[in-house]
């Protein structure tokens, strides 16, 4: 009968391979994984290794027998080894948790909400907009002049937004490094691609100070653009953002109070 690697070695290799992927491969290909997510990945890997070894009686016995032998000190060699393990393992745990609890100079990671909840309606420059009722931007209704509007939006962008959101609309403008959190990356499929134009209208018009009360603090440096731009200019820059990134604005279904939609 063909015998593979001992199960403990297999487990160790799986763990090392997983940690290698999380710590080396992903950072090399892209960027380091934040500590919290890294922790989730490692814990999941450990749980899965446990499921793997215990998913059959044969592999479980193979895995647990040396552990049982060690805990029960069934051989002469096991007794001193057990003492070492009983001293070293608690010490290691203590060292790890004291280091973890001591913290450091770096502030802990924050639980951030990326898409603040919009209000049902906003007043911009004295005009009331019911966001739910705006399925598409008003300038899109004027299809003949849409290209013109987008061009005007480009000018607005480079005169006002470019400094933070950058040339490639990736949130890497000249001032970007000064902000925490960094400016939004419009190219990301998780930002404007997920949102409707009315949402962007609210965010741009009201800026950071217009963000809702829940999930504070927001730490947004976005100015209140209704103080500097006209309503049309806001719609134009929104059209430009979608045009240049290639994303389609989200169009909402509208409820008619009919259950079973």
């Amino acid at each position: 009968m063909r015998r593979g690697l001992p199960i403990h070695l297999k487990c160790l290799l799986i763990l090392i391979a997983a940690i290698f992927v999380f710590s080396v491969v992903v950072p090399f290909v892209s960027a380091p994984i934040p500590g919290q997510l890294y922790g989730w990945y490692v814990i999941t890997t450990l749980c899965v290794i446990f499921l793997y070894v215990s998913s059959s009686e044969a592999s479980w016995e193979e895995f647990i027998t040396p552990v049982r032998n060690l805990l029960l000190a069934r051989t002469a060699l096991m007794k001193p080894l057990r003492i070492v393990v009983f001293i070293v393992v608690p010490l290691l745990c203590g060292w790890y948790f004291s280091t973890w609890a001591a913290g450091g100079a770096t502030p802990p990671g924050g639980l951030r909400v990326i898409h603040p909840t919009p209000p049902s309606s906003v007043n911009v420059q004295g005009k009331r907009f019911v966001l739910q009722d705006i399925s598409v931007s008003p300038i899109r209704e004027d299809e003949a002049h849409l290209a013109e509007h987008i061009e005007k939006g480009r000018v607005v962008y480079y005169e006002n937004c470019f400094f933070c959101h950058g040339d490639a609309l990736q949130g890497k403008g000249h001032f970007a490094k000064g902000f925490n959190p960094p400016p939004a990356d419009f190219q990301d499929t998780g930002t404007i691609a997920q949102l409707s134009e009315s949402y962007l209208f609210w965010r741009i018009a009201k800026g950071g100070p217009g963000l809702p009360g829940e999930s504070t603090p927001w730490d947004s440096a976005m100015p209140i653009w209704e103080d500097f731009l006209t309503e049309d200019e806001i719609w134009q820059v929104i059209a430009y953002l979608y045009e240049i990134t290639g994303h389609e604005p989200r169009v909402m279904d509208h409820g008619e109070g009919d259950g079973g939609h």
């Binding site: 960027a31 749980c47 059959s56 770096t106 990671g109 925490n180 990301d188 989200r250 109070g257």
Partner: protein, 737 residues
């Protein structure tokens, strides 16, 4: 003679009283119906009108939250467990396996205690709501009162059908040809088949693009014809059929019990969903204008109904499995009780899995409808403060899938011959792990400033891709496919060489062909965007790809290569799921949402056709050995506890998300919460409350199980005393396969 006359007079009086009572109830019901269709105008209370009561220590919100959630969990229990019992009873009647019948009967003992506990929590909830939120409740009652009256009457119906079901278990057996019984059974059959009739009537217009329409007068006519046909069939002399079967009559009571439970659930759902997605409100006039029915059929009502219905199946199954696990661990090693409870745990888990598989899609529909009703609600749920609850949900659902598979793998220990399939376990575990890691990866990460800078923002440039819907849909479909594969391997664990297809019965061959054809037609219905010619070519290619794979799989089965056909189906679905998962990143949101339907339909096609192939090719196959019930590692039973706890926790978590979405509104965007509890609690606090509720629920359920166990012990002792011997012990055997 005189005595006879007195009795006769008494009988006449009793008849008159009964007739009067029926007449009064009829009038009342007519009145209620009139009320339901009667439009009302209810003014919205102003800030000054709002009155709130106080509750010591925890406050009014937590008090209502805890009681409402416990009521809902017990409600799910008394809707889910009868559904479980009914499925098992029908399975027993169809396979003529007494063990299923005994299992179902064993669980009816739980019902009366569970019903009263649900009612107690319902009563407490009503008192708390009236005392703590009187103005708000006054507004709701003004709109929904007729439905509340119907609710009360239905509750009677549910209680009585439950008692008929419970007490009639032993007496309703065998066959009878008495005229009264045939009339009763025919009437009951029409009652329970009526929803099916409505469904049949709704199907043709659905296929011809006419939408979901039903003509009620036609359905009444057809119901009448059905009744007459059944009656004629029953009264005709000759061979006995189901109309003469007392068991069928009993099953009808079970179905009625479930109908009552479901309608009750739907009515109370309408009150809750009205708070999230109100309809009939005229904000300018500050009034509700419309009928109770208008308020009931609000935007999120049906999605919530469907989601809760499926969730109740899964929940009922998992609670039953946990009970079985407890009894398994309490029983002596190698005892017949262990074998019985091992089998019961397996059946419970099997039913839970059947519910779990479509549940994410029903949830997805609900989420989509919430988004559709109001983007504010949608963003609060999926992108705003409640989005982290969905990460917790992902972890729990991942644990459910991993746990369910792990249980099946451990279950193979008791199946001789299953060693042949052990080699697939690491591969399936690997797929599940990768899917789980993607499933739990949030789009926006918890990161320190340093980490965020290294990533270039709050999103990881590579892993952030896993945080959006395309990735989530892809991995959940792959997890379902893997779980289904685990089940197929488990199922064929002790099966020997397959019987040649040519030797299979004609019925098997025809069934396979019909199922394959139905699958292909359904795919056409689901895939073909008849209204959008731009997407037609792509969808036609997809449909042709799926249809050809099904044809190839059937052709391989005909040539005794059925397992290869199944592998082909799995590969086809994996390709479709992954392709649309990746393609989803390159299209706009509205198109991407449509992709999820294509992904899930391909998975459902595999479930349908591959299961049929499996049944056909292993039909009559020799057994390597009998399943050794009771010979499963004990850790498998702890998995069943984990599954039940995860389901309960998920209900608490998502129940809070659904209700909490309204943030500082009693009725979203209509009636504001002006109480001191209007704020949304922190996630940690909310999770703490939910966890306490889950623990209280599990403790109460354990108590009910203990009561039922005590009752069954007492019953067994009485039986033993009556028969002057030992109590009968169930023989292990059978299975859901």
């Amino acid at each position: 003679m005189r005595r006879y006359r007195v009795n006769n007079a008494q009988e006449q009086a009793a008849k008159r009283r009964s007739l009067a009572l029926v007449f009064l109830v009829g009038l009342l019901l007519l009145g209620v119906c009139a009320e339901i269709v009667q439009a009302v105008e209810v003014p919205l209370p102003t800030k000054e009108d709002m009155v709130y009561g106080d509750f010591p220590v925890v406050g009014r919100r937590v008090a209502v939250w805890v009681v409402a959630q416990l009521h809902l969990m017990f409600g799910a229990f008394v809707v889910g467990v009868p559904l479980f019992i009914l499925i098992i009873e029908i399975l027993g009647a169809a396979t003529k396996n007494q063990q299923y019948d005994d299992l179902a009967h064993e669980f009816t003992r739980l019902l009366s205690v569970a019903f009263s506990t649900t009612a107690i929590f319902g009563g407490i909830l009503v008192f708390f709501l009236i005392g703590l939120y009187p103005t708000f409740m006054n507004f709701l009652v003004s709109i929904f009162f007729p439905s509340m009256v119907v609710y009360v009457f239905l509750f009677f119906g549910e209680s009585f059908s439950m008692y008929l079901y419970y007490f009639g278990w032993d007496s309703l057996k065998g066959t009878t040809r008495s005229v009264g019984a045939v009339i009763g059974t025919s009437a009951l059959s029409v009652l329970v088949l009526y929803p099916g009739l409505l469904l049949l009537l709704a199907l043709p217009p659905l296929f011809t693009g006419g939408g979901w329409t039903v003509s009620f007068p036609v359905s009444y006519g057809l119901a009448g014809v059905l009744f007459v046909a059944l009656l004629g069939h029953g009264l005709r002399p000759g061979k006995s059929s189901f109309v003469h079967s007392r068991k069928w009559m009993h099953i009808c009571f079970g179905i009625l019990l479930n109908y009552f439970g479901l309608i009750l659930m739907m009515i109370s759902n309408s009150w809750a969903t009205f708070m999230t997605s109100p309809s009939g409100i005229n904000l300018d006039a500050g009034v509700f204008q419309g009928t109770t029915w208008d308020a009931m059929r609000n935007f999120t009502w049906m999605p919530v109904n469907l989601h809760r219905f499926i969730a109740n199946i899964a929940f009922g199954g998992s609670v039953v499995a946990a009970y079985a696990a407890f009894r398994f661990l309490s029983a002596a090693r190698n005892s017949p009780e262990r074998a019985h409870y091992d089998w019961m745990g397996y059946i419970g888990n099997f039913i839970a899995l059947i519910g779990l598989i479509p549940l994410p899609f029903a949830g997805y529909w609900l989420g989509r409808e919430i988004y559709g009703y109001d983007q504010q609600l949608g963003i609060t749920m999926m992108g705003g403060i409640f989005s982290w609850l969905f990460i917790l949900q992902a972890v729990l659902i991942g644990a459910l899938f991993l746990g369910a598979n792990y249980y099946l793998w451990l279950g193979m220990e008791r199946i001789p011959g299953s060693e042949r399939y052990r080699k697939f376990t690491p591969v399936m575990l690997g797929v599940l792990t990768v899917c789980f890691l993607v499933w739990l990866t949030p789009h926006s990460l918890v990161a320190s400033l340093e980490e965020a800078r290294k990533m270039g923002g709050a999103h990881h440039p590579m892993l952030g891709v896993f945080g959006v819907m395309s990735a989530k849909n892809t991995v959940v479909n792959l997890m379902i496919l893997t779980t289904f594969l685990s089940f197929l391997l488990y199922r064929r664990g002790n099966k020997g060489d397959r019987v040649l297809f040519a030797q299979q019965s004609t019925a098997s061959k025809v069934t396979l062909m019909v199922i394959a054809a139905v699958g292909i037609v359904l795919m056409w219905q689901l895939n073909a965007p008849l209204s959008d010619p731009d997407l037609m070519t792509g969808r036609l290619i997809l449909w042709a790809f799926e249809a050809l794979t099904v044809v190839a799989a059937v052709a391989l089965t005909l040539n005794d290569r059925g397992t290869l056909g199944q592998a082909l189906l799995f590969a086809m679905s994996a390709v479709v799921v992954v392709f649309y998962g990746i393609y989803g990143y390159y299209v706009e949101a509205i198109v991407r949402i449509g992709f999820s339907i294509l992904q899930v339909s391909s998975v459902l096609l595999v479930l349908l056709v591959a299961t049929t192939i499996d049944i056909v090719i292993f039909r009559g196959a020799p057994l390597v050995g009998e399943i050794r019930w009771g010979r499963i590692p004990e850790r498998a039973q702890y998995v069943l506890f984990v599954l039940a706890t995860s389901f309960t926790w998920l209900m608490g978590l998502m129940g809070y998300a659904r209700s909490g979405l309204r943030t500082h509104w009693h009725i979203f965007n209509v009636m504001r919460d002006y109480s001191s509890d209007a704020f949304t609690p922190t996630l940690g606090y909310a999770c703490g409350v939910i966890s306490i509720i889950v623990m209280v629920f599990l403790l109460l359920v354990s108590f009910i199980f203990w009561l039922a166990h005590m009752g069954s012990v007492g019953h067994a002792q009485e039986e033993a005393a009556l028969h002057g011997g030992a109590s009968p012990v169930l023989q292990p055997g059978g299975g859901a396969d």
